[in-house]
Structure formats: C-alpha cells, structure tokens
Amino acid sequence: MSTFSELLINSYREVPDRVSITVLLSGQEDRPITYRQLVEGAAVWANTFDRQGIRPGEVVVLILQHGFDLIFAYWGAILHGAIPSIMPFLTEKLQPDRYRADLTALVGITRPECIVTYPEFEEEVRTALPQQSSVRKLIVSNALSAPETLDLQAFKGLQRTEQDIVLLQHSSGTTGLQKGVALAHGAVLNQLNSYSQALQINEQDVIVSWLPLYHDMGLIAGFLMPILKRIPLVLLSPFEWVRAPARLMHAVSKYKGTLSWLPNFAYNFCALKTRDRDLEGIDLSTWRAISNCSEPMRYESHRAFYDRFAPYGLKESTLCTCYAMAENVFAVTQGGIENPVLIDEIDREAMQARKLAEPASTQKPSVKMVSAGKPIRNVEVKVVDEKGHDLPDRHIGELVLRSDSMLTGYYHRQDATEKAIRNGWYFTGDYGYKVGKDVFVAGRKKEMIIVGGKNVYPMDLEEPAMEVHGVHPGRVVAFGVFNEAAGTEDVVIVAEVDTDIQEERDVIGDTIRQTVTRGSAVALRHVYLVDAKWLIKTSSGKNARTANKEKYLQETSSSEL
C-alpha cells in the first residue's frame, strides 16, 4: 500500500515523459501534460502553500474553473500533504448573497484553513467569509512562489500515511456543502485497485472525460484513477461539452478513447443534440466501455445513444453501467464489462404497490430495469427492510454496503456519520433489489433531486425562491419530475403568490427563475405559481413534497400548462 504523493513521485521518476493528461479547451491547441510537468506544476503550488504557512492535514478549498490552475493546485495540495476540496465554480458572475450562504455553510462546518481562487474573485470571496472564520489564508492564482529547485524528498505529502485523510468531496448547494465526505489515502487506493480490476484496465486504455472535478464521478473516474494508475486521460471542459456534445465523440475518435463515464441524461443529450454534420469522419470503434452512472439508468437512454452512434462504429457492448457514491470513494458495482448488461423486465404494479421485483407477464404493464452490475471486489451489498433486516432476492429495500474503501466519516460531522454507518454498514438511502449478484437501483429514500447527474437538495432551491418579493414566505416547494425525452429529472418549483395579475406573476416567476438559477446553477424547467393555501402541509408544518408533487402532476396533466 502507498499514498497519493508516493505514487505520483514514482511516476515522475519512472515515466517522466509519459503524457498523463491531455487538456482540450476550445480555441486552443490540445495541451499534453507529462508526469514531469504535472509534478513541476504542482510543486509551485505545494511551495506556495508551504510559504503561506498552510500545514499538512489542513483543508484547502479550491474555487477554480476547470483547467490548468485547478489541476496543478489540486496536486500541489496533495504533495504538500494538505487536504484539497473543490467547490463548484459558477460560470456567471457569482450572486453575492447566495454565494455567501454557500461559503458560510462550507466554512462553518468544514472549517478550512485556506481558500484558493482567482484574483478577480478575491474580493467576492473575502466579503463572503464570516467574521473570525477558520480561513487563515486566501491564496490567489497569480501570487504563486515557485521553489528554487525541485527537491522530491522535501514534499511534506510524503509523510502522510494510509489512514490520513487525502481529500474531501462535497455535493453542491448549501446543504450539500455542509457534508464533506472525508476519504483516506488507503480507502481511495483500495477503490482504484478493485475498480481498475473490474474494468479490466489494459495498456490500450485511454479515458475521455468532460465531467466536472467537484463530483465523485469526474474526480475519481475522470481524474484521480487515470493519473494514479497511469491511464492516459483526455480531459474536456463540462462548460464546453454542454454547448457542443459532439466534442466528446471527436476526442474519443482522435485519441482512440476506450473508457468514459456519463450520467444518464448525457445519453439522451448526445443522441438528440448532435448533427450528422458534427460527426463526419468520426470513428467510435475503440470505445469499449461507457459507464452510465450517478443518476437513475434508463434502458431507453441506452437504446437512443446506441442507435444514434452505431453508424460511427459504436459497439453495443460498450454500454456499461455503474452504481457509485462518494461515501464508497466511487464504484459499488460495475456491469457490462464481462457480460452484457442484464435487463430485467418486471411487473410495474408489483414494484410500486408491493415492493417486489416480479418478472413481468405479457398482459400487464412492465418496466425494463437496467442492472447496475455486480459488486466490485471488496464491496458487499445487501438489501434491508426498514428495520435493517436482510431481504431475499427480488425484494425492494434499502441498499446498504460494506467495503475497504468507505469514507472515514463526514468531516466534522460525527452526528451524520453515526446516522449513515451502522455496525460497519453504510446505509445508502437508495432503494433497490438484487437478483443473484446483480444489483438494481429502484428509487431513493432521500428527498434529493438528481438533475443532469447532479445531486440537488430541494431546500437549497426553495430557500432562495422564498426570498423573492411577492412569494409567501415558507410557501414554496421544489421537486423533480422525470422527463422521458431528456432522460433526467426536470426541476419544478411551486410557489404561492398573492397577486392574480398576469404581468406581476410573470415578474415573480422570472425573478424566482433568475434567483434560483444564478444562486445554485440549477435551471428550473417550470415555475408554477399558485394561489394562497394551494400547498399541502403535513401536520408538523413540514413541507410534504411528495403530496405536492402529485397535486402538481394532476393539475398540469389535466389542464393546459
């Protein structure tokens, strides 16, 4: 066993001129980064952290865009032995109020010692910090101090042990930022060993990724695994991919990409939004595994993607699946590598009413469930009922897991850690069932919205909407509604307002959209304004999101929107 710094330094010594990452940015030449360049670039940051008095074991929050600064600052923190955590960067100018709320949430719980950002955001970040915060240093990306010589032995990260925490992962939003998943060197490396075995990684492999690095899928599968395991990585920007999804196919074709990870919506998005003209001369035959991961997997999405790209050499066997979460570092299961992904057609009524995954009969409505595959080595998965008792095959319950790659805990959140881990088992909050070793995910317990592969807590959308003038305080509800065409959830906000003048309602609706989109970077698909007393409240006064969602669906399906 080893640590991140040791592995990176070994690569520097053994294969200094091997290209680790090729960065693809619009309007620029593709830029390769060798292991030598990676260590040299990171050394500048490591030296800067050291000079600024940041000590090993302290938390460094990175507020940087997808690109070179982020790559080097991340590894610089690692080499210095500090604990990096990437905070999502908003593309539009930050909305000070919302950003302040997010930063306060993060700083309040995680208590980072250092924040890194661009000079142009320094002032904004500084004003967003609470008084007397834990943050001792705010480092800007143009005030770095390069070391006089590169002394590999001097990196303080080399003194870290397997049990030490190497990184924190947060999900986005005020709520998500309050729960940082703390992972140790040993846990991450155990995961990378068993996951690369499950993927049957070989010398021909090239990973192509456009995923953001603040998310576990992008960070682990699309950044740390390739760098630490010496698998060449071709890295695209999420902001550029979303405007031109064919960039992914171009990168795979040009660099003979073999492995990628995509959230379910991306299958629909790529299939629907690329034109033949954008795909001329493309060859996708090298792509051997695209793993559908991070939001509910849909059979229809796989079909649409395959039909669209088969003429360009995409193989059907490329369509793989994966069930993953930051609390297990990343992958829990992987499907489609050894055998084609199992499709299980089950009876819809039995699933919904009796929590049973019964094979469908021909007469009744059915659902095609996509297997997430089998647990990777060193991960055990069980299905349990509400009391925590094991359930047999084809019974739907909560998925729980145990492995050698689990989180150390939620950082500074002993309460949340104890709630999630019981007797060594991590309770995922996802519903699912098993058939033999295959795991099927069938819903979730937590009130999270998963939109475009991103986890969103409803309260993080409701709170800013409640602050909009004209909205009844406390009378807002947010939820996700699955959109078949998009292959993901649409975010809906229902808000009670006083006025019935259409122009005023339009203004309120626009302001809600603007406030929520700019504050959380989540686009609302539908803002539904209703009269006072429309929302259903539970007896405790708490928001009954499910009941309100049903009421919304009834109203909007029976009348014109």
């Binding site: 979303v242 031109a244 998005f269 475009g452 959209r513 603007q514 686009a523 539908h526 929107l561």
Partner: protein, 82 residues
Amino acid sequence: MKEEFIQKIGAYIANEVLKQPNRVIKPDQALISSGMIDSFSLVDLALFVEDNFNVHLDDSELNKETFDTLDQLADLIASREA
C-alpha cells in the same frame, strides 16, 4: 423580417423552454444573463435557429457576450443571412 425572427424565436422559448405558451418575451429582455435559458436549452435554441433560419451558430457563440436578447439574436441571424 426582424419582427418575424423575434416572434418565432420568442414563441419557441415560451413554449419549449419556459413552458408558458401565453408568455410574450420582449425583444430587449435578457435571456442568458437572467438565467431564463440555461446551458442545456442553449443547444436546443441553436438547433432551432439552424433548422428554421438556415443559420449556423457556433458553440463558441452560445454565450451572453454574443447575444443576450431576442433583438441581438435577430440581428445576428440577419447578418449571417446576407
């Protein structure tokens, strides 16, 4: 001509993006910087413009610096058509 662009694209945004068919979008109303159109819908908008006006918008142009209102978008289309 320009009015026709504005009307047609405005109706598209009201129907498909905002899901408010009766909504009229003003020619000078901010679309991107206001958060009305998110990045996912921008690609759709570009495809709509291409299909209906036979004008190609490059992905590097899908930002508020290139156009942020119907008025600016209509000008952009008109300049390409010439």
